[in-house]
């Protein structure tokens, strides 16, 4: 590990570099390095090996704090609302989730509530066919809330187990788009109290510190119950979720590791932390 046995200023500097280039952010990285410095001062850490283990444990603690057990799925349909900024991988992730739930023997319905972007409905339709899920859609340009309302109506008669709603990418700073999202949530809540049962924020692993702003604003708007970190098959480490997870207490549910239907994994904190140091 970094080829060094004793702990010196160079080692701490290279550790800081690893954490920052993994997108943990300056304040999280600095805080972690400071804790290590304290331990070293008090002679509680004596070699690089112990140091690495200590650092791993500290990061794992930050990641594990919100990981309460997923709720027992008793609602029918179990409604998942998928949100996030433009291009993070929401629609593709929904295809992957549909495939996963179908594999568990569930009836899945996808809802094409991105009525804005060119060919968004066509894109989701291809995924629904690939996964073997139902699809509810309306004309492009229609009101997303109307599509969602229709879907909740249809879900009753089709005995849908899981409903996954695709929304248009939107920058968290666009007030009118965030209002549109709140309206979608209100329509769902009114039609089916208790729903949506899961609100998933989809984050791109290549995103830097702006992910924190995204998480905070989406959280204040509609509340996030889980995150999906996509594109981890690239070279970005996605370290920004460490700070988000710790501060907002939101668990990471899944990671995306490719563009195919099977490229979804449950979040494994140990594997994630090991990869930070690769």
């Amino acid at each position: 590990f970094l080829g060094k046995k004793e702990i010196d200023a160079d080692l701490l500097d290279s550790l800081e570099e690893i954490l920052i280039t993994a997108d943990l952010g300056v304040s999280t990285a600095t805080e972690l390095i400071e804790r290590i410095r304290e331990k070293v001062k008090r002679k509680e850490l004596s070699d690089a090996f112990a140091l690495k283990n200590y650092l791993r444990e500290e990061i794992l603690t930050l990641l594990r704090s919100p990981q309460k057990e997923g709720e027992e799925i008793t609602a029918s349909p179990f409604v998942i609302l998928v949100i996030g900024v433009n291009g993070t991988g929401k629609t593709t992730t929904i295809g992957k989730l549909a495939h996963r739930f179908k594999g568990l023997g569930q009836n899945v319905m996808l809802v094409a509530a991105d009525t804005f972007r060119a060919a968004a409905i066509e894109q989701l339709e291809i995924w629904s066919k690939r996964a073997g899920a139902d699809l509810i859609k309306q004309k492009s340009g229609s009101d997303p809330s109307a599509v969602v309302y229709d879907a909740l109506e249809a879900a009753q008669s089709r005995k849908t187990d899981v409903m996954i709603i695709d929304t248009a990418g939107r920058l968290h700073t666009k007030v009118n788009l965030m209002e549109e999202l709140k309206k979608v949530q209100r329509v769902i809540q009114k039609k089916m109290p208790g729903a949506p049962h899961e609100i998933l924020l989809v984050l791109d692993a290549t995103t830097g510190q702006n992910a924190i702003s995204q998480a905070k604003l989406f959280n204040s708007a509609v509340g996030i119950t889980g995150m999906v970190l996509t594109k981890l098959d690239g070279t970005a480490k996605g370290g920004v979720v460490v700070g988000i997870s710790n501060e907002l207490k939101i668990p990471i549910r899944f990671i995306g590791i490719g563009e195919k239907m099977e490229d979804l994994r449950e979040f494994d904190p140990d594997a994630f932390v090991s990869a930070l140091f690769d």
Binding site: V85, G87, G89, T173, T206, G208, Q209, G234, T235
Partner: protein
């Protein structure tokens, strides 16, 4: 803000007419923090701070500025100089038709940018031709064709069982026949570490010899921006950059990282989802944004 933070540091050092080694060190620590928070790459920050350090030592502080403001002025000038200074427009010389190949990571905004470029170039009197060369992403061809339709702009009739190289070659032939003078090629998003897909781009480059190969990058990209830009540049030889989603609140440090590692000009920025949301890149405005 950075100005406030620097002023606080320099308050204790008031009375000096010069920027000294000591007060520069303290000030640059804050500058480094600001740049890292803005997602500028770790190594790029290191090099940049060293450059500013050399420029700042012994500098007279102008009467109208506090030492903190003087340091920011130097930092801002350096950032602006680093990110600017090159020809920004599309290179229309040398070939006919002109061809522009858009490349980049998944979801960065290539397809939307292709539409935006077409609209922008028609406004400048060109006759653009849109080429959907993404055969992988579900409904990618439809997406660009829909944009072309909305713009009343011609697009090559790609279908997913064609090879991207064939699409591009046939599109160039068609463009010549119909006297479209600017071919805009939308490629599939891909990882810079996917050798098969990077080779596909090399193949298109070799066959078409595009006038422009532009990396379309997301303004919110973090530390990984250098890896991405370096790999695309080494593999293809980029001629320019377009930074998208600048209408958000990302500080956009990726702009500095990408410029530092490729030395290629940032030509445009995307500032919205609509097809008219394309603006020229202003290095001084970007510098202020990065510094926060």
């Amino acid at each position: 803000s950075l100005t406030e933070r620097l002023d606080r540091i320099f308050k204790k050092l008031r009375g000096y007419g010069k920027l000294t080694e000591q007060n520069i060190q303290d000030g640059l620590r804050e500058v480094r923090l600001a740049l890292l928070e803005a997602d500028v790459n770790y190594k790029v920050v290191k090099d940049f701070v060293n450059t500013v350090h050399e420029r700042a030592v012994g500098q007279e502080v102008l009467d109208s500025l506090t030492p903190g403001q003087q340091l920011i002025k130097i930092v801002h000038e350096e950032l602006t100089a680093l990110m600017g200074g090159q020809k920004q427009d599309i290179n229309f010389s040398g070939k006919w038709p002109v061809s522009i190949m858009l490349v980049g990571l998944q979801g960065s905004g290539k397809t939307t940018t292709a539409g935006k470029l077409a609209l922008h170039l028609r406004g400048k009197g060109r006759r653009p031709y849109l080429v959907p060369a993404d055969i992988y992403r579900p409904a990618a061809i439809e997406q660009l064709q829909k944009l072309a339709n909305d713009l009343d702009m011609p697009a090559y009739p790609s279908v997913p069982d064609m090879k991207p190289l064939d699409i591009c070659q046939r599109a160039m032939i068609l463009a010549r026949e119909k006297a479209y003078d600017t071919v805009i090629i939308d490629t599939a998003g891909r990882l810079h570490i996917d050798t098969v897909l990077m080779d596909e781009l090399k193949g298109i480059e070799a066959a078409i010899d595009p006038s422009e190969i532009i990396l379309v990058a997301d303004a919110m990209t973090g530390q990984d921006a250098v890896n991405i830009a370096e790999k695309f540049n080494q593999t293809l030889g980029l001629t320019g950059i377009i930074l998208t989603k600048m209408d958000g609140d990302a500080r956009g440090g990726a702009a500095l990282s990408i410029k530092a590692v490729t030395q290629k000009p940032i030509k445009f920025v995307g500032v919205g989802e609509k097809l008219d949301a394309l603006e020229p890149f202003y290095p001084d405005r970007m510098a202020s944004r990065i510094l926060g």
